[in-house]
Point group: C2
Chain length 333, copies 2
């Protein structure tokens, strides 16, 4: 089993109020670079911050790292448009930062990214892959792609109050800027990503198509961004089995209607509840209140722990350990 993380950025995240993936807007560009250092090394190495939401919810990278410290799975990070330096080793596929989706072509190199990721997914010798993402603003681009494909699926948010009306307004503007109707890119995943998506979605979709075509078992690790990636894969004409592993926080989000979405996209759904409500540790409180929910492959990592027969009690101990270490680092700065 290999765990892939596609990490990148989109300027869509700069729209005021759209994302909680950073304590302040000017720190958000660091978030994916920091997330991948936390999963790779257990703490930031080169990146000067630990990502937390404005209210103090820690990045889900903490949970993915905690499971990795327990299981030791192999990690491969793809640079899908990072803009801040990182000490994490990354596979380069030539991706750049995505523009604000209200521009005409926010991902002009969508075809090249998709193709490079497809070749990588096809060439990897592993028989089983999980793939997750880290990109601030990603649920808005996911909504954009789902609309462009004509898939009536709602998206989640890392904020406790999902700014849905703002996201919908941004997506309407973005459709107009690309002269697309709802469903106007159905059957054309490259057009959908190029016009409404982000470089991480191009990467995850391309990688998954390549891996599935070569007979690899793929589980998408995440929430509504992974539903958008799955929709891209289905609209590329790939009908083989595909899994989605996510958290109970996404499953409980009525905006998403997860079971219906997985049915529509023919995804085998695996939901894991880390039982954060049985803890009162600061690392988990905000999740119980509806923040964070998913990201950085969290739901996939939790599924791996469960598949390996590890109790969520003991995973929560690992989460506290990783969190407290990061918190100690932050105090030193």
């Amino acid at each position: 089993m290999r765990f892939i993380l596609a990490s990148g950025t989109t300027r869509t995240a700069e729209i005021d109020g759209i994302s909680a993936a950073g304590a302040a807007p000017n720190l958000m560009a660091h978030t994916p670079s920091a997330d991948i250092e936390i999963v790779e090394y257990g703490r930031p190495v080169q990146v000067p911050i630990v990502p937390v939401s404005p209210s103090g919810c820690p990045t889900p990278a903490v949970i993915t790292r905690a499971v990795r410290e327990r299981l030791g799975f192999e990690l491969t990070v793809i640079d899908a448009g990072l803009i801040r330096p990182t000490s994490t080793p990354t596979v380069s596929i030539g991706a750049q930062q995505g523009a604000d989706i209200r521009k005409t072509k926010p991902v002009p190199d969508a075809r090249e990214i998709f193709e490079a990721a497809r070749q990588f997914g096809e060439a990897l010798p592993d028989t089983s892959i999980m793939i997750g993402e880290t990109i601030p603003g990603g649920t808005t681009t996911a909504l954009g792609v789902l609309r462009a494909l004509g898939e009536n699926i709602g998206v989640s948010s890392s904020l406790p109050e999902n700014p849905l009306s703002l996201k919908r307004r941004v997506v309407e503007e973005a459709l107009a800027a690309s002269a697309l109707d709802n469903g106007g890119a159905a059957g054309d995943p490259i057009l959908a990503v190029a016009s409404m998506g982000d470089p991480v979605l191009a990467t995850v979709a391309g990688f998954t198509v390549g891996a599935l075509e070569s007979g690899t078992d793929v589980t998408l690790a995440g929430g509504t961004q992974m539903l958008a990636a799955a929709a891209l894969v289905r609209h590329a004409g790939i009908g083989v089995p595909l899994g989605l592993a996510t958290t109970s926080f996404v499953a409980d989000d009525e905006t998403v209607a997860l079971n219906r979405a997985c049915g529509a996209l023919e995804l085998e759904l695996e939901t894991t509840d880390p039982k954060f409500d049985e803890s009162d540790h600061v690392s988990m409180l905000r999740y119980i209140e509806g923040e964070g929910k998913e990201g950085v492959g969290m739901g996939g990592a939790l599924a791996l722990a469960r598949r390996a027969g590890i109790d969520m009690d003991s995973i929560r101990d690992n989460i506290m350990e990783v969190y407290d270490r990061l918190d100690g680092d932050a105090d030193e700065h």
Copy 2:
């Protein structure tokens, strides 16, 4: 324990007869890119070749991978001047290919590489590190650096007949081109690498200085190239304990006088004999005849296996498995 590989290229390898790190000179540029894919994934992914010497000696990446499949150690690859694309995730430190050392400044950015690698080595949270290399032509640049520093240490070769007189002639020309006497860069490791070295030596030396300065335990995994790296560390004024883990093939090479060299550089030497003479498998035959000897962290990986109490008999089984898989791949092409 984290295993680091610094992988790069120098045009010094293009000098006729200097290196065996490729079946033919035009394939040698692929060798480090292929080596790191083999250690990372168990087989080439993007790179179109499996590195073998002209006589058929397989790359020592096979041995390092075999140990990794057994022990599962964490691997981090640094791009220290690769020129062929790879699907292996790499840490970027801004290094370029090194020029032929007979040019005036073959590594013009030696200071920047050293400094970036130093910062990376300092920032990593691990308590214990092994670092190895893959760079065709690296023993010639190692000899150049040792001469520039005034260290009277001989270098090994991946060829069964070490082309020592050729190497010495190249190094004499290189010293003249940089207007350096033997020992002319003593105490100035940046000058030694910039004038006579390669980007991998700049990386390994800088990384090791940073890691040692932050209290990390470091073992250099390799032969005479790692002696040159150690010399650079000592000439940077770092006197703390430092290990060297290499193979019995290097220890048996009288050109090197390994014990004396380790004494002069105050290195704790750890030699491992994989007992290839107890096998008649094609993957090991050339090593018994004096080819290959070291590289891609082979000696360090074997030391890790021994420290973990694993028999060399069973490591040889793993080596055959990795080799046969690669051989099967080659047949398919």
